[in-house]
């Protein structure tokens, strides 16, 4: 597989095209453009119900230039299993990149379906674009909403302020299935994202790629939608979002975070503006711990 390290090296071909109704500055839409470039012409996409489905497929229009199917919210992995089985039966499985696209919501409601497909060993790339809330229904909390974040179902009340739970460790849950390839990515590092998706197609089994995608409305920076990429980069630079891979059980850190203070990431987002100094310090400690833990896993698996 050829690794592409420059933005200008990415293919010029577009398979997710303009005309969709995503917000200007939408993080997930950028992810769609990049991931379809990586998957290329010979790909079949299964898309879960959510922002990227609603914004891209208003009958009779479509933004998709590859075969694309949306069925429901929680069953994308199972639909992919059906496609995988049919292509295998027809003898054409290896001619096609099979991609599932879902938001973090589908990782909640569809966890059993994902687990089933991973355990069956079906060959497909599951891409979870994580905007850390149920954005399509209006910014409600999901299992992947981070600690303290405002959402419309975890409002900043007089007694309870924001989300009381930490983000579900979905990558650990997926990793427990011992699938060939797991990676995290984010749109601020487009080449890293592109290369990881390309790489996922080389494995003869399921892959899972978890992509952090800032959401201008849910993360409350709608006054300046131009900072989507900046926020994505800051997530990595602060160590809040670690870019790593688990390839056949081996951990690999892809981008070493410079460990900017987490507040630099938080202060751009209205969803965190209520955080106390103490809460920010606690999160700073948690970020350090999870980074140390990843370094440990990386050296242990070498």
């Amino acid at each position: 597989m050829k690794v592409i390290n420059e933005l200008r090296g990415l293919p010029v071909d577009e398979y997710f095209v303009s005309g969709h109704t995503a917000c200007s500055g939408c993080g997930p839409a950028i992810a769609m453009r990049l991931l379809t470039k990586a998957a290329g012409k010979n790909s079949i996409i299964v898309c879960a119900t959510g922002c990227m489905e609603v914004a891209s497929s208003k009958y009779p229009t479509t933004s998709w230039r590859t075969p694309w199917v949306h069925a429901a919210f929680q069953n994308t992995a199972a639909v992919a299993s059906g496609i995988h089985a049919a292509l295998k039966a027809k003898g054409s499985r290896n001619k096609v990149n099979l991609v599932v696209i879902s938001g973090d919501g589908s990782v909640d409601i569809g966890l059993a379906a994902i687990s089933g497909a991973l355990e069956r060993g079906d060959k497909f790339t599951y891409i979870c674009y994580d905007n850390e809330q149920y954005a399509n229904t209006g910014m409600q909390r999901s299992g992947l909403t981070p600690l303290h974040a405002w959402t419309t179902t975890t409002p900043i009340g007089k007694v309870i302020k924001g989300n009381q739970r930490t983000k579900k460790p979905i990558d650990d849950i997926i990793a427990a299935h011992k699938i060939p390839y797991i990676a995290t990515a984010t749109i601020g590092f487009p080449n890293d994202l592109f290369n990881k998706i390309k790489k996922s197609f080389t494995f003869n089994g399921p892959s899972f790629i978890h992509v952090l995608t800032p959401c201008i409305l849910g993360w409350k920076y709608e006054t300046d939608p131009s900072i989507t990429i900046k926020i994505s980069k800051l997530a990595v630079e602060t160590g809040v979002w670690l870019l790593y891979e688990i390839e056949n059980g081996k951990f690999n850190l892809n981008v070493k975070p410079v460990m900017k203070p987490v507040d630099e990431y938080f202060k751009l987002q209205g969803r965190f503006k209520h955080l106390s100094k103490k809460e920010i310090e606690d999160i700073q400690d948690k970020v350090k711990t999870s980074y140390d833990n990843l370094i440990k896993l990386t050296s242990e698996s070498k």
């Binding site: 009958y59 479509t62 199972a78 059906g82 496609i83 089985a85 027809k90 059993a112």
Partner: protein, 365 residues
Amino acid sequence: MNKEFNRIAEASAAVAEAVKLVSPKVISIYPITPQTHIVEKLAGLVNNGELKAEVILAESEHSMVSALIGASLAGVRCFSSTASQGLAYANEVLHLISGMRLPCVMAIGTRALSAPINIWGDHSDVMNSRDTSWIQLHCRNVQSAFDTIIQAYKIAEKVSLPVMVILDGFTLTHTFEPIKLLTKSQVKGFLGKFKPKHNLNVNKPMTFGPVAFPEDFMEIKHQQAKLMDKASYVIKDVNNAFKNKFNRRYGNGLIEVFNPDYNKVIIASGTTAETARNLKCTVIHLRSFRPFPFKELKQVCEGREVVVIDRSYSYGSGGPMALEVRNVIPEARSAIMGLGGRDVSLSDLEKVINSNKKDMWVDNL
């Protein structure tokens, strides 16, 4: 054994045998009583090399039927089977399959719905899915189960709607009878090659399952309603074609009329109709519940004394089949029988025919 029969088979095995002859490329399975024998037989056929198919061992019925969407859109024939809670759990996906016009076929071994939990047969599960826009065909004996599976693929592919082939849990799924089989080449000749109308093709990319706003949604659903109307004719045609090829048919495809000369008429689906044939009355086997054969029932029943046997109940309303029949025979009487596997005996059926009550439950005659 009479030489015109060539095997004694359990209905579940007959379904598996029919599926083997159809030879779908993908079989998606998840077990639930009383459907288990069907999927176990199929797994055995595949593992013994008698049936070349990819088996998806799903983790739930929801995923099991979701996989049918993928397989069907990828351009192959597929098969699945479930019952009861499994059918209810899969319910939302049933709407997707019909809405996307996918010609999937599924066998249902009917069973009561919880609570209280009960593993035995009645029609609560299939009635609960009557508005999913799946064609629903009932079988009354082992031969009809075998034949209906084969007809179902032809019907589904001609109409572009999915078909449920319905077997009464235990009273049919676990019953052995002598049957006449067909050969693989006979079935192949009858069905022809599967030619999907549209599929997931990288050389001709299409978008499936888009969002339809209010300005389009109704037109799309209206087309779907017309397809179900068309299904009435297709079921009849396929039944006739089957008769011409194999010399077996099921009435006109929608209903079967037995002992036609009596004034008293029992209308029932599945094994209840088969049992009722032993009584001194006319019996109509309501083979097709969806589409519902209003015109045909009216023709046969007008001016006669009709009682409809339902094996399920619409709470706060009545027996679902009786309610539909009353559209054309308003004076039709209704009897609720055989819930949760309660035996539908000849003596109870006799009591029902001779009763003068308009609405009755067999536990309370």
